[in-house]
Symmetry: C2
Subunit: 135 residues, 2 copies
Amino acid sequence: MTPALTPDLMTISDMCANFDVTPRTLRFYEAKELLSPLRIGTKRLFTKRDRARLTLILRGKRFGFSLEDIRQLLDLYDRDGSQETQLIRTYDVARARLAQMEQQRAELDEAIAELKGQLVWGAEVLASFRKAAAE
Amino acid sequence: MTPALTPDLMTISDMCANFDVTPRTLRFYEAKELLSPLRIGTKRLFTKRDRARLTLILRGKRFGFSLEDIRQLLDLYDRDGSQETQLIRTYDVARARLAQMEQQRAELDEAIAELKGQLVWGAEVLASFRKAAAE
DNA sequence: CGTATCATTTACGTTAACGTCAACTGATCT
DNA sequence: AGATCAGTTGACGTTAACGTAAATGATACG
């Protein structure tokens, strides 16, 4: 069993199992100052706060934010999570990102449409090949 | 004026202007064997074929193909552009890529939806802030 | 002849997000 | 003690698609 995570501290392998990331990733995030686990001697112990942050980090990645973007957002949450101006800034960043994503989706849609067109053409060429071969 | 592109040959800067790419890009593509311009002495002269290929390269990039993917597709076109099996292979690659893109689009849609949800929440928090400040 | 412009080759630099060793250190189990 | 883990730091490797700089060559103009 896991050593009974008394004050909800988790070892690096607990974290890996729970969040499906590698140790390298967690150390990397620490180096990037996205996480700051406690130390007992040399070993890392991840707190509830670290877990909350990691959750946000992974969500941010799903949104396509870079780690640097994420770090800045986390900093904003931290510094004075309750300052209205900070919240507004976070909100704006997210909205901008949303706009980007919708733009990206539009481009993707265009590319899909174009590629579909090419496929239709390809199918026609193939069909005419078979016709020619059948005579 | 451009030296009257007699047998439709273009210099590197003509190409850059026409396709909106840098010289570095064209040399890079040549190194990757995507293009194979003629040489007069040391200088490159791009033929009609090079331009056709570049068009396909750029289109491929819009589709999200890697240069390596594109090179292979171009090779297929070349080797025996009229062999049915080659055409089929090209067709299949394109279809697979289309599937990828539609998958990607689905994920993007999900992320957009989730992010929109977060934004709504963020807006609510902001609203409650203003309410609190107004009292 | 001088210079201005365009081109060429070579080769190292860049960015992101980790992967993959290597070489240890400690703790634990037997 | 010996062996076995789990963990640590450090450092170089990876991938894609070029950017950028340095040194040199070719050509045309006046």
